[in-house]
Amino acid sequence: MSLIAQINETMQKFSRLVVNISLVMVTFFLAAMVVIVFLQIIGRYVLFWSLPWSEELSRYLMIWMAYIASNVALYKGLHVSMRAFLNILSEKNRNYLFFVMNFGILLFLTVVIFYGYKNIIIVSNQTTPVLGISMGWAYAAVPFGCLLMLVQVITNIFDFLTRKIICKEIFDSRE
């Protein structure tokens, strides 16, 4: 087996692992958001105490949840795109175009990860108003989510180098 094929196999396994772990976290975070905001209402109307931290905590959970889930959407090819032009191309050309597209996405993700990391350092000694944790934890959601998406994009690239097809199942699986 060639080196690229070996790397590809490892990347495929890794990317599936990332997806599965992400899904567990997404499920847990979203469920936690429901419980926290519901407790906030119950607290106000039934028990007459207020939860000062509920809004802030659920908001950060939401941002983390959304950014963790976006790599799953990328893996499944679910991100909304305009496919009118792609549909008139032959399958082979579509594959090449898709290959190029992954580099464009890679560029953007790298920028967000690099400067997102800088942001974390800038805000790390500020604390959040209610929870009192470092703002860095909140800000980390965006670059972390992009890092996970980067894993999926690099997997796509290696998959193309090995098998010369990547987009077929990605376009088919789009719901």
């Binding site: 899904l23 997404v26 499920t27 975070f29 979203l30 469920a31 958001m33 429901v34 905001v37 519901f38 906030q40 209402i41 809004e55 659920s58 908001r59 939401m62 941002i63 949840m65 959304a66 950014y67 963790i68 889930a69 976006s70 799953v72 959407a73 990328l74 499944k76 679910l78 991100h79 909304v80 795109s81 305009m82 496919r83 009118a84 032009f85 792609l86 549909n87 175009l97 898709f98 190029v100 597209m101 464009g104 996405i105 560029l107 953007f108 920028v111 967000v112 690099f114 400067y115 997102g116 800088k118 942001n119 800038i122 909140a138 800000y139 959601a141 965006v142 670059p143 789009r174 719901e175």
Partner: protein, 430 residues
């Protein structure tokens, strides 16, 4: 000037070759920011702060409610209820498709959810009883757009978040009549076609006992929107809290009363809702980067003077122009990005010309909803053609008569503010 051209070129090129919309917006904004030598830390910063808002949490919760209701057998019951009401009429299934979409729109806030919930059941059922597949798919796609207009509505949450002077509650309520009008317009098309195409009708009569059972089960689902909207406009909950009440309510009726929701279903719903949210939020996040680029480039004032230069101080011409602009943009751009970038630019001009901000919000949302089914690029057309296994060309052709009526309804809503403002005025919330 060259910098603007580069960013525009990146945008068009990336859009055409099929980049995910979030990256189309992200890359073109990145190119503009990089060329202007602005620190690039602003990109992740905006992507964070854009969704660091409590109100926006209503979006994942409304999506989750739709998922749970779907898995818990709510959509089936809504469809059956609609069929029981109008099934005996000629073309009954076509009407029930539309009515079911309107019911479902009162629970979910997005159109795509509606397409899969109703289309997967109704298209095969309609085909079996003798409708053409292209017609059944067209009516599913077209009726799904009432979902984001009839409250609760995800676009309304985003609009109220980004445009000052409009509340989520008022925008929800203002969408009720336009949503019903749109549904009514679609039914009118079916009525005109019913005799010519000789649509089938149901022969079997439903017994009173069956009818009351179906009515009761559907009723439990249909009071959910009343709780959501009532709670918001009477100030009992914030929109976000109302959306959580909707989640909890849907879990209770689907698991305890319909007994169709297992723990497995709840977990699946959470996963799916999380993924759907992330797709939307990635677009929303990057749209805030683009909105930032537009603001430092001073696009809003130059656009305002450009528009006023063309239409003068005439609100009629202005609304005509806005309608055309949004119908075109709405076909290829994700609705949330249009709301975030163009909403805050166009709404102040409208207010200056004496248009009610709430009325303008309704016009904005109806336009974008219609854009979801405009051939050849509308998102709901893609979704429907996938579910029904029908080519986009056939579907686009079948959609045309409905599209015509939708545009006619849009113009009624645009030029007669009464339809949007009557209920909010009645409830005294503007």
């Amino acid at each position: 000037m060259i910098k603007i051209l580069v960013a525009t070129f990146v945008f068009i090129f990336a859009l055409l070759i099929g980049f995910p919309i979030a990256f189309v917006i992200g890359l073109s904004s990145f190119s503009s920011i990089a060329l202007d030598n602005i620190p690039l830390t602003v990109i992740p910063q905006r992507m964070f702060s854009g969704i660091d808002v409590f109100v926006v949490m209503a979006v994942p919760f409304f999506i989750l409610t739709g998922e749970i209701m779907n898995r818990g057998g709510v959509s089936q019951r809504l469809i059956r209820f609609a069929e029981v009401i109008v099934g005996r009429v000629k073309g009954g299934l076509a009407y029930s498709n539309i009515i079911a979409s309107m019911f479902f729109g009162g629970i979910s806030g997005a159109a795509i959810a509606d397409v899969s919930a109703i289309g997967s059941v109704m298209i095969p059922a309609m085909e079996k009883s003798g409708y053409k597949r292209s017609f059944s798919s067209a009516i599913t796609a077209c009726s799904s757009v009432v979902g984001p207009i009839i409250p609760p509505s995800i676009p309304a949450v985003l609009y109220a978040m980004n445009v000052s002077g409009v509340s989520v509650g008022a925008l929800f309520v203002a969408g009720i009549v336009p949503g019903i009008m749109l549904g009514g317009g679609l039914m009118l098309v079916c009525a005109l076609m019913a005799n010519k195409e000789n649509f089938p009708k149901r022969e079997k009569v439903v017994t009173a006992k069956e009818f009351f059972k179906i009515l009761f089960e559907a009723f439990l689902a249909l009071i959910a929107p009343l709780i959501i909207i009532g709670g918001i406009i009477f100030g009992i909950f914030t929109p976000t809290e109302a959306s959580v009440i909707a989640v909890v309510y849907s879990v209770i009726i689907a698991s305890l009363i319909y007994r169709q929701l297992s723990l497995r279903d709840i977990i699946e719903s959470l996963k799916q809702a999380g993924i759907t949210t992330s797709i939307l939020f990635l677009v929303v996040s990057t749209a805030y980067v683009m909105a930032y680029v537009f603001s430092i480039k001073g696009v809003a004032p130059s656009m305002a003077s450009f528009i006023v230069g063309i239409v003068g101080e005439n609100p009629f011409l202005f609304l005509l122009m806005v309608n055309i602009l949004l119908l075109v943009i709405g076909t290829f751009m994700e609705f949330s990005a249009v709301i975030i970038v163009l909403g805050p630019m166009l709404a102040p001009i409208a207010v200056q010309l004496g248009i009610d901000p709430l009325h303008f919000g309704v016009i904005f949302i109806v336009n974008l909803a219609i854009g979801l089914t405009t051939p050849p690029l509308g998102v709901c057309l893609f979704a429907t053609s996938g579910i029904a296994n029908i080519s986009l060309e056939q579907l686009s052709k079948a959609v045309l008569p409905f599209l015509l009526v939708k545009v006619m309804v849009l113009f009624l809503i645009t030029y007669l503010p009464f339809f949007s403002l009557y209920i909010p005025e009645l409830l005294n919330i503007i």
